[in-house]
């Protein structure tokens, strides 16, 4: 049985004329890593700060372990938070930084010593315990900030873009370390990030924020395969999902025209599009566009980016731009200007209404 570590119930927050959050609701289960995903300004930090008690919501409630904490001071919420700028105490050593929450709780000096030493060993930062933050490397500071959170036993960890300042290698290393630590100890994590790769890599569940509203809550793979609308589809995935005009004709068993190719449509899509013929915008991930052995939509190669394992090929298909991810061996055989045929994995296609971007298939 798993309980609920955090429950956010329709919180709203307004800054002047800006609606920073409107009716944001979601849960974080015990032992679960939930990622708050969204572009800059989507309300990720405001959400975390509201949960921590650093902002008071205009409406709505926050429950930690079933306890209503909406109007409690931060100190009474039993949460740990890692700030996007880390916020280490600059005049305290690594040890004193990590020990601070325990000192505030007035624990015995020997207990504090033991716990700080243990946490530092897990994080491999024992060597910086006597140093000031100014003398530490970026990764070491990050780990000290992490240590300051882990040394406690909070009901929930809030992490605001905890890996954003690190270089790529270290980010990937710390990312998996973070995930492992969370899983091993059964911690409840709520991590905010604008990076969908990070979200897909570590999340058990993703809460997608757009303009201060929850747009979709789903496991990462569902977010990728079955986004709720065009905005989410475009935010998640790189290269971006291909959007191309399509015409659906239900007669003759259901057919679809994309660029200059007319193809039979799989049953699932046919059912969702309904019985009337219509035009819509087809969404096709780059890995679902392939070179055909013959036939298919006529296209011209307009750009090739070799990325080692794979190549990204850009095509011009009857005036529409399509990108495909192909194995490098295949990419090397192509040249800019080549005329080729394209086929699509139509069973993976999703469809949007052209004007509103809402899902139609």
């Amino acid at each position: 049985m798993t309980g609920v570590a955090l429950q956010v119930d329709r919180i709203a927050k307004r800054f002047g004329r800006l609606d920073a959050l409107s009716d944001v609701s979601f849960d974080v289960a015990d032992g679960e890593l939930t990622v708050l995903l969204g572009a800059a300004g989507a309300g990720k930090t405001t959400t975390l700060r509201t949960i921590a008690g650093l902002e008071v919501p205009d409406r709505g409630r926050v429950f930690v372990k079933g306890r209503d904490v909406t109007h409690l001071e931060p100190k009474d919420r039993n949460l740990a938070m890692i700030f996007d700028n880390l916020a280490l105490y600059p005049n305290k050593t690594g040890f004193a930084n990590i020990a601070h929450p325990l000192q505030v709780q007035k624990l015995a000096a020997t207990t504090i010593e033991q716990r700080v030493t243990a946490v530092a060993a897990t994080l491999r930062i024992s060597h910086v315990l006597n140093r000031l933050p100014a003398t530490m490397s970026g990764g070491e500071r990050q780990r000290v900030a992490l240590g300051r959170a882990l040394v406690r036993d909070p009901d929930l960890f809030l992490l605001d873009e905890p890996l954003s300042s690190l270089d790529a290698m270290l980010r990937i290393e710390l990312r998996s370390e973070l995930k492992r630590m969370q899983r091993d100890h059964g911690y409840a994590f709520l991590l905010a990030t604008p990076d969908y790769v990070e979200a897909l890599a570590i999340a058990d569940r993703v809460v997608m924020l757009v303009g201060g509203q929850v747009r979709q809550i789903a496991p990462p793979q569902v977010l990728y395969d079955d986004p709720v609308d065009r905005e989410v589809a475009r935010f998640v995935g790189a290269p971006e999902i291909n959007l191309i005009a399509a015409d659906y004709d239900p007669s003759d068993g259901g057919r679809i025209r994309i660029a200059d190719a007319v193809m039979p449509l799989p049953v699932a899509q046919r059912e969702r599009l309904g019985g009337a013929s219509r035009s819509f915008q087809a969404g096709l991930r780059p890995e679902h566009v392939r070179l055909s052995d013959g036939g298919g939509a006529a296209a011209r190669v307009s750009d090739i980016e070799a990325l080692g394992l794979q190549s990204i090929v850009t095509f011009d298909a009857s005036g529409a731009v399509l990108r495909a991810v192909v194995p490098s061996a295949e990419g090397r055989r192509l040249q800019i200007g080549d005329r080729v045929g394209l086929t699509f994995s139509l069973e993976r296609m999703i469809g949007f209404e052209e004007r509103t971007g809402s899902r139609v298939a």
Binding site: G53, K75, M81, N85, L86, L88, Y89, P90, N91, V104
Partner: protein
């Protein structure tokens, strides 16, 4: 940072600047130890051949100067020295404490809205002379004239814009997330402000205190118009060393001025290490 040797040219320029800056100080110290005959001798006497402490003694014993045949000092400066110390330290302490709390309020909670900082500063925009006389009338009516409470109230009101603004700029430099981290760690709001931010702005706090103290210590206008007989400060006393028989007693004035400089010089030396220290380096990612 490696110390580069100065070029001869730069050294000369610096020496010139030092001479120009320190000459008035040199002259007043010399005048303070000159006997009355040397005060305004022509040609000027730079360094007295027979230095004396009689000017300093006259400050506290008005009769002392008579041994040089000069008379007419009616009152010792003791009261004005004690008065200056009391009024300036009390007013400075109040101004800095209230200023610090305002600075935290404005910086962290935008107390009073966005215009508050400018509103506070606007209180300094009219000349003190314009409000001096109204204050004499008001203070007469509410029995605050010729009292230290009245003078201190004016000093606090006059310096509060400066202390608030200076301290606000120091508080602004400390990322609020450091305080917020302490709150999440289990500290109350007030304790987070006081135990986290205060140590980090220590240098700024010392600098502000010194600045406000200098303002109060050397204030003349209000101290003059708001005092009759019960209170006096050093700047007002300085203006009173004019006698009917011997004219202005330059040496005694100089002695009191030298005495007035002492606490400022000592304070400056004590806190010079704090004045320019960047305490926040490495606290947050930039």
């Amino acid at each position: 940072m490696p110390v580069r040797p100065l070029s001869w040219f730069l050294l000369l320029v610096l020496l010139g600047a030092i001479v120009i800056t320190l000459f008035p100080t040199f002259w007043i110290v010399m005048t303070a130890i000159k006997p009355p005959t040397d005060w305004n001798a022509a040609p000027a006497i730079w360094i007295p051949s027979k230095p004396t402490l009689v000017n300093f003694r006259t400050l506290f014993d008005p009769e002392a100067i008579r041994e040089y045949g000069v008379g007419g000092v009616s009152q010792a400066a003791t009261m004005s020295v004690l008065g200056s110390i009391f009024a300036s330290t009390t007013a400075t302490a109040l101004s800095v404490i209230i200023g610090l709390l305002s600075a935290i309020g404005i910086s962290r909670y935008s107390s009073g809205g966005r215009a508050t900082p400018l509103l506070i500063l606007s209180g300094r925009m009219f000349p003190p002379a314009a409000i001096a006389v109204p204050f004499v009338i008001i203070f007469s009516n509410i029995a605050l004239i010729d009292t230290y409470s009245g003078l201190i109230a004016i000093y606090v009101a006059a310096t509060l814009p400066f202390s608030t603004w200076m301290l606000k700029s120091f508080v602004d430099e400390i990322p609020r997330e450091i305080e917020e981290a302490a709150m999440v760690d289990g500290k109350s709001r007030l304790m987070a402000h006081l135990t986290v931010t205060l140590p980090l702005i220590r240098g700024g706090l010392f600098a502000t205190t010194l600045f406000i103290f200098i303002l109060n210590w050397s204030e003349f206008l209000f101290a003059l118009v708001l005092s009759y007989t019960n209170i006096e400060t050093i700047p007002v006393r300085l203006a009173k060393y004019v006698t009917a028989t011997a004219g202005t007693l330059y040496g005694v004035q100089a002695a009191l001025a030298v005495l007035a400089m002492v606490p400022l010089v000592i304070a400056g030396f004590l806190i010079q290490n704090h004045l320019a220290r960047g305490m926040t380096f490495g606290a947050v990612k930039r």
